[in-house]
Symmetry: C2
């Protein structure tokens, strides 16, 4: 099921790996402005949510919900933003973003709103460790 899957190079460049859920690779966006996960189903050739069969859609939904609950529990954010856009990177990927009143883009969507800010490595690794615990996944090797 996961053979021939290759992560799009733009997604690889913009993120650090968190780990793997049963369907999706979980990535953390390299942007300390917002705790921001990206879920990428590990199947080749997907562009749209509706390219997945119904069972896989439901599996992805469960992973989106788990990522959303984990981000909310860890960050205490004010709002979650969930989106599958893919206008610039065609490989199907789902954004799950923790938003705060007063963050750099608030109340606008985050895309294109502010230059990404680099994580302090210790803060980033602490967030990844907390996410792995909340999602019950092994940390990705980096």
């Amino acid at each position: 099921m996961t053979e021939d899957f290759t992560l799009h190079p733009q997604l690889a460049a913009d993120t650090v790996p968190v780990g793997s859920l049963p369907l999706s690779r979980v990535l953390l966006a390299n942007d300390a402005n917002y705790p921001w996960l990206i879920l990428v189903p590990r199947r080749p050739g997907l562009v749209e949510l509706i390219d997945l069969d119904e069972a896989a859609q439901v599996l992805l939904l469960g992973e989106i919900a788990a990522a959303a609950r984990a981000l909310k529990a860890i960050t205490g954010c004010d709002k979650l933003n969930i989106a599958a856009l893919g206008n610039q990177v065609p490989q199907l990927h789902v954004h799950v973003i923790a938003r705060r009143h007063g963050d750099k883009a608030w109340p606008k969507p985050v895309w294109g709103a502010a230059e990404p800010t680099a994580y302090e490595p210790k803060a980033r690794d602490g967030l990844i460790a907390a996410l792995c615990r909340a999602l019950h996944i092994e940390p990705a090797k980096r």
Copy 2:
């Protein structure tokens, strides 16, 4: 289940009703720049996707997928954008948007990208009728 549900006035102002799916009210955004549906689960007090119980999440997913397939079939769009943001209107609502290479915001997200353009009423009503047929729903009374 649907008692006490009231559509947020901002969503009512920005859309025209299409009809009702089992869980969600289906609305068409008043913006001819992009064929743009908004699904609003008819339950009071929802803010986040994860405020819905798991069964209702799956129901909503099915309605999102149906709306996406209908929009794609009717418009022949190049890409679908699906998002639950809710930073400005807290009532849970899901955007399902048909995007075209070269539309007014392409490849950026649509929010805040261009002033809404009014529909020509006949074009709007034709789109609504096609959506109702594709979604197997009765047109909303307006």
